[in-house]
Subunit: 341 residues, 2 copies
C-alpha cells in the first residue's frame, strides 16, 4: 500500500473482490452479503481507509468544504470576511479552506484549480487587481460548481455578488472633509480596473461637485495602495507644489504612508492637513493621531456572502437567479480629520 | 446527474458497464478494449468528469496540495510563514490551502479533518494556544500523512519542527533594555502552556540574572496577548504602584496596548519608560514612537518548513528521522527603547 492512503481498489485487491462490491458494501447495499460487508469493513479499518471522507464525497458529491479565494488573508478586511463566512459555514457543518492569489493573475488561475482539486463544494472569491479575463471562473461555472463573488467583483460573470456601497462610503468621507472646511482635497486612488477604486473615485467626485468645489486633476494621484505607494504618491503631490488641505486615500495603508510623509515634511495632521483612509484596518486606531476611515462591514459581508452561497448550494442544480447585495459602509470619524475644538 | 460532479459510477451507469471497467479504461489499462476506452472518454467529457483531479489523485495518492493550519492568517507572522511555504511549494508545482483554528481546540480538530477531507498530501501546522492533547495530529501520523510543525510546537509528537530561538530573542531584548539603563523591566507574558511564551520568559529571566538584577514577580504580568490584553496588564501594573522603567511584551499587539495606556497616563515613551514588543508586526514601525521588537524571520521560517516537508514527502513511506530546526531571530531597535541622544 502506497503513502498510507487506501482506496476501495486496495480493499478490493486484498479481498479479491471488485471495487464496486467494496463500494456497495461500504454503502450498506442490501445486495451484498453480511459476511462480505464485515470483511470489507474489517479490511477498511486495517488499511486505514477513510470511508467518511473520500468515498462518501465521491458518492454524494459533497465534501462539505468551501474554498475561499482572496488576494491575501493578511488584511483585516479579507480575514474578517472569511471569519463571517466561517461563522455561517460552521453552523451548517461546513469547513472553509482559504487560498491566496497575492493579486497575481497566474496564481489566481492555479488557485482555482487547487480548490477544485480539493473537491470543494463551491467557491467564494474576491478577484485580484490584475485580473481582466475570467475563463478560470467560467470553468468553475461550467462544472456546475457554485461560485459567489464578494467585494472585488466583475460584471462579466453571471454570479451573485456581495459588495459594500463603496461610492457611498467615499462620498461620506469627502462630505465630512468638506464639512471640516477643506476645499483642496487630495485623492489617492489605484490605476487598476477594479470596481472598488472606481466607485470610491466617483463618490469623491460627486461630493465635490455637489459642494460646487471644482475638480482638480492635479489633486488625484494614482498608485498602488500599499503603505509605500501612499508615501510615493504623497511625495509627488508635495513636489508638484499644489496647495491642499486634506488627503482622502482609497486605502488605509496608503493613508498611513501619506501621514508618515506629511510628518517628515513637518506638515501637521490634522492642524494643517486633514487625513482619511478607507477600510478601518486596526492600526488606524493605534496611530497618533488615529485615522478617520470607512468601515467595510466585513464580518456581516462574510455572513451575507455565506448565506447567498448556501441558498445557491441548496437550489436545484446549483442554479438560481443571480443577484447583487449592497451593504452600507460606516464612516468612522477620528482625530486625523477633525478641527481641534 | 447530481450537482455537476460526475463520478466513475455515473459514467459506468450511463454505459451500463462496471465502475472498475471505467476506472481501468481511464487508466489506459491494456485489458480494456479500445472501443470501450473511447466510449468511456466520450461519456466522461459529456458528463464533465474531472479525470486529472479526483481520479488521478486517488490513483497516485497525490493531490499536490499542502494543507497549512494556522491559528489565524491575519497576523503578519503567520501570513509571512505561509508566503515562505508557498514560495517553495509553487516551485515544486504544489499548491497551498490554509485553514484557521482561531486558537479554538474544537476548531483545530475539525480543521485537521477538513484538510484530510481536501485530500492534502501533507499538513504543516502551528498549534493553537489552548491545545494540550494531540490525538487529532496523531491521527494524521497514523494515516501515514506527512506532518511538520512550526513556531507553536509540542514535544508530544514525533515530528520535525521549525522554530526561532525565542529564548535568544527575548534575552537580547532584555539585554538591550538593561544596556539602556533599565533595571525595573515589566514583562507581559501569556499564562498559556505554549512553548514560545515559556521560552521568552526564560530569556527575560536569564538576562536579568546575568546582569544581577533581582527578579521581581510583581513585574511579570500574565494575560492574553492581544492589544486589549496589553491594555489590561499595563493598567494592573500601574494600579499596583510598583516602580518600573521599561516594558517588554511577548507580543507586539500587547506592547501597543501597553503604549496606549502609558500615553493615557502621561507616561512618556521612551523618556520615562522604554518599551519593546516581539514579532515585528508592520504597525510597530508606523507608531509614534516606532516600537523596538524582535523579527521572527517568518519568510525564511516558511521556506525552511516547506523544505523540511518536501524532504519528508520524498522519503520512503514518508518516514524520516525527525529533527528540530532553530532559526536565529533579529533584534530590531527603534525609538521606543532608546535614550534620546
Amino acid at each position: 500500500m502506497k503513502k498510507g492512503k487506501a482506496t476501495i481498489h486496495d480493499i478490493a485487491e486484498k479481498l479479491n473482490i471488485t471495487a464496486s462490491t467494496v463500494s456497495r458494501a461500504l454503502n450498506d447495499n442490501p445486495r451484498i452479503s453480511e459476511n462480505t460487508k464485515k470483511q470489507v469493513i474489517k479490511m477498511a479499518k486495517q488499511l486505514n481507509y477513510q470511508p467518511n471522507h473520500i468515498a462518501s464525497a465521491l458518492r454524494s458529491g459533497k465534501s462539505k468544504l468551501i474554498g475561499v479565494l482572496v488576494p491575501t488573508a493578511n488584511r483585516n478586511f479579507f480575514s474578517s470576511v472569511v471569519r463571517g463566512i466561517e461563522e455561517i459555514a460552521n453552523e451548517l457543518d461546513y469547513k472553509v479552506i482559504i487560498s491566496q492569489s497575492y493579486e497575481d493573475f497566474e496564481k489566481e488561475v492555479q488557485t482555482v484549480d487547487a480548490l477544485l482539486n480539493a473537491r470543494v463544494d463551491g467557491i467564494i472569491a474576491s478577484i485580484g487587481k490584475n485580473t481582466d479575463t475570467f475563463d478560470h471562473f467560467k470553468k468553475v461555472l461550467d462544472k456546475g460548481i457554485p461560485l459567489i463573488l464578494f467585494d472585488r467583483i466583475t460584471n462579466e460573470l453571471d454570479v451573485s455578488q456581495v459588495v459594500i456601497d463603496d461610492y457611498q462610503g467615499a462620498y461620506e468621507v469627502t462630505r465630512h472633509l468638506i464639512d471640516q472646511g477643506c476645499k483642496r482635497i487630495v485623492h489617492l486612488t489605484s490605476p487598476k480596473k477594479i470596481n472598488i477604486y472606481r466607485e470610491r473615485l466617483r463618490g469623491y467626485e460627486d461630493a465635490l461637485k455637489e459642494a460646487k468645489i471644482p475638480l482638480d486633476p492635479d489633486l488625484v494621484e494614482e498608485g498602488n495602495m500599499q503603505l509605500e505607494d501612499g508615501r510615493i504618491s504623497m511625495e509627488k503631490i508635495i513636489r508638484k507644489g499644489v496647495s491642499f488641505d486634506a488627503v482622502f486615500s482609497s486605502s488605509d495603508y496608503a493613508a498611513m504612508g501619506a501621514m508618515q510623509v506629511l510628518r517628515e515634511h513637518k506638515i501637521s495632521v490634522p492642524d494643517q492637513v486633514k487625513l482619511a483612509g478607507f477600510g478601518n484596518e486596526p492600526f488606524t486606531s493605534f496611530t497618533a493621531p488615529p485615522i478617520t476611515t470607512v468601515d467595510q462591514k466585513s464580518i456581516p459581508m462574510g455572513r451575507v456572502t455565506a448565506e447567498t452561497f448556501f441558498e445557491l448550494l441548496k437550489s436545484e442544480n446549483n442554479k438560481k437567479a443571480t443577484h447583487k447585495t449592497v451593504l452600507k459602509p460606516e464612516l468612522i470619524i477620528r482625530e486625523s480629520s477633525l478641527n481641534k475644538s
